[in-house]
């Protein structure tokens, strides 16, 4: 049970998507865990064969608990005497390095997992379907080898009962508790400094209008994608704003995983990562953002997305106000804020004219950087936004 935040002590395993004997590769989703941030899909970082499942569904276990054993491809089958002693989950193949937080109790009964006859249907999915009278024949599986997962049944339920569309386990109260803990810790421990920079985004608006005119709605871009790309590129060039402050020292990150702040209807907030945001094209970034927003609001974030953002970008979009001053999400060391675009009088070539202007802010961690470096970083984002075609 890995930790997805320093305030997390335990997590509840909701469902296994694999069983002993299944082959998995790095990045496969193997289990679902319930946390204050909603259900998190846990990915394995280890390729191999599932040797043994150690934690049963609906169990709440502390962070650090071994959830399952994976035999890596190079490893020989151990002798019978050594083979996975159930009470000693140490030594053998690597544990799943994935983790989570405290969670409210599940309402599903902790029934013993029933044996799926032939068809690959997870026990939790089968139970959910039985509870709601869903015929499993109409459910399309999205798990390994087409296995039907809890989420697949949920999707069918969502169609059948639109008023229940929000995932039952997206607990906004628990999410608020998690936000409060992280933000209080940040305000306690992180010496913030704040900078702001107003940037003319005429070039972005013109480029977007031209590009979007040729695209169907599904492929159109929003200025938010340009904002994230520019911030990610700047973070690559200014490593003091991209990484983690842990154990009294700063560890710069090798990649830029941009956490994107996503508001959840009813008053929640999450900032899962878009991996390698600096290397994605703007189109790829836009489609990743749409996918991430949709999954976050449905309560389906993956473990790696929640645990590894290296910097956060928060954008108010077209509504709201002109500027926001973010609070750094520990152990990150910077958050970049984009206000809404407003038309303001602006001086260009010694003449005043109306221009679309956005206020970009930086909250930086004084343990790692200072205002001088922060100003250069923020100015770099502004410069990058002048050439949207190069982003």
């Amino acid at each position: 049970m890995p930790s997805l935040g320093s305030d997390m002590e335990a997590g509840t395993l909701v469902e296994w998507l694999v069983k002993p004997g299944d082959r998995v590769k790095r990045g496969d989703v193997v289990a679902v865990i319930e946390t204050q941030k909603g259900a998190i899909e846990i990915e394995t970082f280890q390729s191999g064969e599932i040797e043994q499942i150690l934690v049963k569904p609906h169990s709440k276990v502390p962070v650090g608990t071994t959830l399952a054993l994976i035999r890596t491809d190079g490893e020989a089958k151990p002798a019978a005497a050594v083979a996975a002693p159930p009470s000693v989950p140490v030594g053998p193949p690597a544990a799943l390095p994935a983790a989570v937080a405290v969670a409210p109790p599940r309402r599903a009964p902790p029934a013993a997992p029933s044996v799926a006859p032939g068809a690959r249907i997870s026990p939790a999915a089968r139970r959910l379907a039985e509870e709601h009278g869903i015929d499993l024949a109409i459910v399309t599986g999205s798990g390994p080898a087409g296995a039907i997962t809890y989420a697949d049944v949920e999707r069918v339920l969502a169609v059948a009962a639109p008023e229940k569309k929000r995932a039952a386990w997206l607990d906004l109260e628990a999410m608020r508790t998690a936000i409060a803990a992280a933000m209080a810790r940040s305000k306690r421990e992180v010496p913030h400094y704040y900078l702001e920079h107003q940037v003319d985004v005429t070039a972005c608006e013109q480029w977007l209008a031209q590009k979007n005119a040729t695209l169907p709605p599904a492929n159109r871009l929003l200025i938010g994608a340009l904002a994230v790309k520019a911030a990610a590129l700047a973070a690559r060039r200014f490593p003091a704003f991209n990484g983690f402050y842990r154990d009294n020292k700063f560890e710069p990150a090798a990649a830029v995983h941009a956490g994107v702040a996503i508001a959840i209807r009813g008053g929640g907030l999450a900032a899962p990562a878009i991996h390698d945001a600096d290397r994605l094209s703007v189109d790829e970034l836009m489609s990743s953002m749409r996918d991430l927003v949709q999954r976050t609001r449905a309560g389906r974030i993956r473990s790696s997305e929640i645990s590894d953002p290296t910097i956060t970008v928060s954008s108010l979009g077209e509504r709201g106000v002109e500027a926001l001053y973010g609070i750094i999400y520990p152990p990150q060391v910077a958050i970049v804020g984009f206000g809404k675009v407003v038309v303001r009088p602006w001086v260009v070539d010694n003449a005043i004219g109306p221009r679309p202007v956005v206020t970009i802010t930086l909250s930086g961690d004084h343990r790692v950087s200072d205002g001088h470096a922060g100003a250069l970083f923020l100015a770099e984002i502004g410069k990058l936004l002048q050439k949207p075609d190069k982003l």
Partner: protein, 92 residues
């Protein structure tokens, strides 16, 4: 497709974005983004869904014509009426 059908389609798609809002009860002349609290990503998803369902082109420059439920119904109604003559400019 009648006006009532278009209204139903739009209400269903808005309900997908804002499941907790009673879409039938909102003021059809109010700015949708304000009354049901949707952001630019939600609005883009709404436009995409309407595009896919009704097979009409909704260029970005026309977004301001769809900001209230009544105006969206009128816009889409006109689009559908002229869809058999795609090269004819939409009547005002």
């Amino acid at each position: 497709m009648s006006t009532i059908d278009i209204r139903k389609v739009l209400q269903e798609e808005l309900n997908n974005i804002a499941p907790e809002v009673d879409i039938a009860g909102i003021d059809p002349t109010a700015d949708l983004r304000e009354v049901i609290d949707i952001d630019s990503m939600d609005f883009l998803n709404f436009i995409s869904a309407v595009h896919d369902r009704l097979h009409i082109d909704i260029p970005e420059v026309d977004y301001p014509k769809l900001v209230t439920l009544d105006r969206a119904i009128a816009y889409i109604g006109a689009k559908l009426a002229s869809s058999k003559m795609p090269n004819v400019a939409k009547a005002t």
